[in-house]
Symmetry: C2
Subunit: 270 residues, 2 copies
């Protein structure tokens, strides 16, 4: 098998994998780090929108990924290191033993994602999501229910953060999405394309369970604390999920799943 | 205000708070650690099923909790320490600056939770949940949708683990639940009480969206990997949530929310 042994944690060839935790939130020049077998398999699959740049594996994990390695383009190096060297490269104990560097794809313009919208299409719009677990959860749910695309406003955190990718079970790597613009911009683009935008908010008088989609729908969720701004809600159809007495509110990723399930379950399976 | 200053991390009075991370999964003799303002407010509230035993606060957080402190029973000590001492007690940087020790309540017998079941009652049964985030999420959702109780089989992790309590937004401290017995035992107890048990499983032919409750319902979810055992599913009504092409499956806490929302949204608000 065509693997490259790494014995020195300071080897220049694996510098992209160095000190992952500290560098997780910084640029990496258009690259991201994916961790664990499930996610790296998605990255290497035909469903991926991202190109793998390199793999770094613990010796003991090479056999489990032999099919992935065999199918990779020959230009993608597969580095292999002992656990001790691997831990020193990553900067922490990397029990999973599987890392990949990938290239962030160029985000398509919103107009591209909204071309030829069909009646049964569902989109997700996220505004102000700052928590990487929640970001990953929103993507996992969007993929599970076959959302056509995810639109993130300019106040969202980066979905290519390692933990967000992991929580998404790789959905970040395969789901079409755009980043940027204000929540108002995204709502306006949707509405111009004939898509009804539902704002998920506890302040709504219409229950999610009583809403019936009549065409393409975008489901918009906001950050858990403040929620969606009133000015944004007022431009949309507001729907809510009533909570039992005295309880705060649902997790934002859970809310996205409730809305996706409700809107898609009345339609033919995708 | 009646607070007790702690200047020595080895002070015997705060030994229950020492080395939280390392001791998180061990016994603590019927006690648990709650962390953060939201959760400690639930613990100290009338909705709590658990008695607070002691508080340990960073000096800078005392003012924010003055109403909680004033309402606490005089027998509950409120220890206050500077951030450096607090970090040394906890064993890691405790940015939230708010800890409480609480007493685990005596779990009621299953029969007690199933006395006088009403038609609109909803229960949650969890089997084999080993991840504390998922455990916390299941409780958060159970509380959000007003589930009457949660039943955990003997293979579940401890919901009183610090992170599970935090993810539950305190729901672990206020929701009636029992721990123990096999999944089969819990299903049998439910059915004896006239409760229909739904097994949430991707293998089901009946879609969750097409199910209509006709009386009290228990929603059973299993661990994310293997899911519910076939022998358990066969004793229940199996329902599933169809996934979009090629996607794995939903998070177990998300699945519980989908089922809770579907089953409760056809009923009068609680």
């Amino acid at each position: 098998m065509r693997t490259i042994s790494i014995n020195d944690p300071d080897d220049a060839r694996i510098s992209g994998f160095r000190d992952i935790r500290e560098r997780d939130l910084t640029g990496r020049e258009g690259l991201f780090v994916a961790e664990g077998e499930v996610v790296v398999r998605v990255l290497a699959s035909t469903a991926s929108r991202c190109r793998p740049r390199a793999l770094l594996l613990a010796e003991k994990r090479v056999a489990a990924l032999s099919d992935v390695i065999a199918a990779l383009a020959p230009s993608v190096p597969v580095y292999v290191a002992g656990q001790t060297v691997l831990d020193r490269i990553a900067g922490f104990p990397l029990h999973r033993g599987i890392l990949a560097l990938g290239e962030k794809p160029v985000a398509p313009p919103v107009e591209h994602l909204l071309a030829a919208v069909a009646d049964e299409d569902v989109f997700v719009i996220a505004s102000g999501i700052g928590n990487h677990d929640n970001m990953g959860g929103v993507f996992r749910n969007a993929a599970a229910f076959g959302a056509r695309a995810v639109l993130l406003d300019e106040t969202c955190c980066d979905p290519f953060y390692r933990k967000a990718i992991r929580v998404s079970v790789g959905a970040v790597l395969r789901t079409p999405f755009t980043v940027g613009g204000s929540a108002e911009d995204l709502v306006a683009a949707m509405q111009t394309a004939g898509v009804e935008v539902l704002a998920l908010t506890p302040s709504a008088t219409l229950r999610l369970a009583d809403y019936r989609p009549k065409g393409p729908v975008a489901l918009m969720v906001g950050s858990e604390g403040p929620g969606l701004p009133r000015a944004v809600i007022d431009r949309c159809r507001a729907v809510g999920v009533p909570m039992a007495g005295g309880f705060d509110s649902l997790n934002v990723a859970v809310t996205s799943a409730l809305a996706l399930h409700h809107v898609t379950s009345g339609r033919p399976a995708g």
